[in-house]
């Protein structure tokens, strides 16, 4: 599957969406395989290590940790999977706005930091993948040519 076949108006948002859903997938589909795989493995490992440290109930809690959940949403598919696991394990705590006492606060804090940082790192990856897609690259070449005085 190549993204080059899509029109430019579709390609950029599609690359962004795929990078959001699975970190690094946008890079891989654009042909930057090593870069995409490095980002994918690192971000997914960071996110799930955070969940393993703090437990899914203490880490991915959108009603109790609203702003952290927004940061975690940067990893898209991983956060949705973790929230689904939270709902499956303990549906009442998933919707509670009170702290979940399934883990020591220190473990939960470390887990939240890991997952939040993974989400914010994936935002960088999404923006980079969108910037590397063909329409942006063509725009960059055109701007560089213009700045050098070429038509």
């Amino acid at each position: 599957m190549s993204l080059q076949a899509y029109p430019s108006i579709v390609q950029v948002p599609l690359v962004g969406f795929l990078s959001w859903l699975v970190p690094g997938l946008g890079h891989i589909l654009l042909g930057h395989r090593t870069r995409g795989l490095v980002c994918m493995v690192t971000i997914i490992a960071t996110f799930w290590c955070g969940v393993a440290i703090g437990s899914v109930q203490g880490t991915v809690a959108p009603h109790y940790r609203k702003l952290w959940f927004v940061a975690q949403l940067g990893t898209g598919g991983n956060t949705l999977a973790a929230y689904a696991l939270h709902l499956a394990v303990s549906p009442e705590s998933a919707k509670s706005s009170k702290p979940v006492l399934v883990s020591h606060w220190m473990s939960a804090e470390v887990g939240v930091h890991y997952t939040g940082v993974a989400g914010l790192l994936n935002l960088l990856v999404i923006l980079d993948a969108m910037a590397r897609s063909e329409p942006f690259k063509a725009g960059g070449r055109r701007r560089r040519q213009l700045s050098r005085g070429f038509p």
Binding site: R35, V38, T42, A52, V56, Y114
Partner: protein, 77 residues
Amino acid sequence: MTAAMLASLFTTAMELSGRQRFFLMLPLCLSIAIVYKAIRNDSMQRFPIGVLTLWVTIVMGLVAVGGGLWVLFRIMV
């Protein structure tokens, strides 16, 4: 059975001491260094040394900031 064991890995929190919490900063900083360098480096040849340099820089910076704040706290309190 395997799915239940895998799920329990993510539903049971780890017990951490204060010292262990500080050491968990190291892999997090490594993740930041890897992703940043993967995005910024045009060539992957200098990637490992770039990651190592950035990782050491981040950790030393955090240690310096933490040490400075600790000294300030000791002086003022």
